[in-house]
Amino acid sequence: MAVTEQEILAGLGKIINEITGIPATEVTPEKNFVDDLDIDSLSMVEIAVAAQDEFGVEIPDDQLKHLKTVKDVINFIQA
């Protein structure tokens, strides 16, 4: 059962809000984690771990560093 981009975005928004306090509505596909959302590397690890649990997709460390934007993560989970 494929998850839609909207479902992933909603799930990511919830995870990012839980971890960083950033409102889920600010988590939009074009946002850059570092430049726009001010999320540091350890928080990215937390987000990746939570996303793995939520969507059942492993995000290896060497892939994580290439995921710069919310859209990158959505694409990775869908792929």
């Binding site: 839980e18 971890i19 960083t20 306090g21 350890l42 690890v45 937390e46 771990v49 793995q52 649990d53």
Partner: protein, 410 residues
């Protein structure tokens, strides 16, 4: 008190305890003789012989934003809450970060994190652990977080001496200012160790009260019927400041942190030396360090944990060091024993006793043990005289660590 070295004063107080979420509510509950001890509701309670504890009156999760709380062990949550209160209470002083230090420790560290992280690691593997697991379990984590919060760059330290940790931290903070390393130091202790393994381990050492039918009556320092200590949790943190710095900014000064005395029993890893030599020497060294005489000391906040072996030995040590005139209280009768946090909150109680000239009564002291030759406060709080007074907070820890911190009125 005629030394020409830097004088250190207390300008801020912060605490979260089993009696209240801040200093004012805790102090008011102490003066009212209220108990912070209640039944434990966690599922592990059926596996241990002790069914009650001094759980924090205000859950830190209700105070801190969730994204912040999830990166902190519960002991760090308490410490950060108490440090913020103390800092605000001190008037959030303007200070060069290079002249601001932190000394905050814990007796046990992030035991809640260690145990839950171990379960998670075994069930789901290493890569499900929070990247903050290490800073959550390390006992210096609180000092690190507080230094980040306040921009304190003179040094962040964590002394560890079991139940003497909070008092030793304040002693270290006094020394940091005296030695010229800092103008202000945020100092104290924290603990969050109400967990099945910890309760089981203290019970295995036969040190805990099992008065399960009367939790509020279980912590009874100096009483004949005492049967062990009652575990509590929380933090107590003070702002120490050079008198010069405090006066220059017109700060409110609660008391002078006049001196500290240390000793070690070198006798037994958990039990006190039977003659009370270590406690006595710590108090005498605190007097010497502060330039005080025994006659100056009007009040002692005793370590007195309510264990059968410890309290009478401490009473003897107080008698030998100071005589019989000092008014002695034992606030663990109401808060329980906060381990590494104890010296923090009890220093605050000692400071407030001087500042407000009133000493809380010892709760549950129905029938004092035989042979106690010090003046225990029973029934109602007792007023202190006017004039220049000194008071001592005693804190002793497993390992044979003894710390006495002397405060004076200003």
């Amino acid at each position: 008190m005629s030394t020409n070295r830097v004088r250190v004063v207390v300008t801020g107080l912060g605490a979260t305890t089993p009696l209240g979420g801040d200093v004012a509510s805790t102090w008011s509950a102490l003066l009212d003789g209220k108990s912070g001890i209640r039944p434990i509701t966690e599922d592990w309670v059926d596996t241990v012989p002790v069914k009650f504890a001094g759980v924090a009156a205000v859950d830190p999760g209700d105070v801190l934003p969730r994204p912040e709380a999830r990166r902190l062990d519960r002991a760090e949550q308490f410490a950060l809450i108490a440090a913020r209160q103390a800092w605000q209470d001190a008037g959030a002083p303007e200070v060069d970060g290079e002249r601001l230090g932190v000394v905050v420790g814990s007796g046990i560290g992030g035991i809640g994190t260690i145990l839950s992280a171990y379960d998670l690691y075994r069930e789901k593997g290493w890569n499900r652990l929070s990247p903050f697991t290490v800073p959550m379990l390390m006992p210096n984590g609180s000092a690190g977080w507080i230094s980040i919060e306040l921009g304190a760059k003179a040094g962040a330290h964590s002394t560890v001496s079991a139940c003497a940790t909070g008092a030793e931290s304040i002693g270290y903070g006094i020394d940091m200012i005296r030695s010229g390393r800092a103008d202000i130091v945020v100092a104290g202790g924290t603990e969050a160790a109400i967990h099945g393994l910890n309760v089981a381990s203290f019970a295995a050492a036969r040190t805990m009260s099992t008065r399960n039918d009367e939790p509020e009556r279980a912590s009874r320092p100096f009483d004949k019927g005492r049967d062990g200590f009652v575990l509590g949790e929380g933090a107590g943190i003070v702002v120490l400041e050079s008198e010069e710095h405090a006066r220059a900014r017109g700060a409110r000064i609660y008391a002078e942190a006049a001196g500290v005395g240390y000793s070690s029993d070198a006798y037994h890893i958990t039990g006190p030396e039977p003659e009370g030599r270590g406690g006595r020497e710590a108090m005498l060294r605190a007097l010497k360090d502060a330039g005080l005489t025994p006659a100056d000391v009007a009040h002692v906040n005793a370590h007195a944990t309510s264990t059968p072996v410890g309290d009478e030995i401490e009473a003897r040590a107080i008698k030998e060091a100071l005589g019989s005139h000092a008014i002695v209280t034992a606030t663990k009768s109401m808060t329980g024993h906060l381990l590494g946090g104890a010296g923090g909150i009890e220093s605050i109680f000692t400071i407030l006793a001087l500042h407000e000239r009133i000493v809380p009564a010892i709760a549950n002291l129905d029938d004092p043990a035989d042979g106690i030759e010090v003046d225990l406060v029973r029934g109602e709080p007792r007023k202190l005289d006017g004039g220049q007074l000194a008071a001592i907070n005693n804190s002793f820890g497993f390992g044979g660590h003894n710390v006495a911190v002397a405060f004076t009125t200003v």
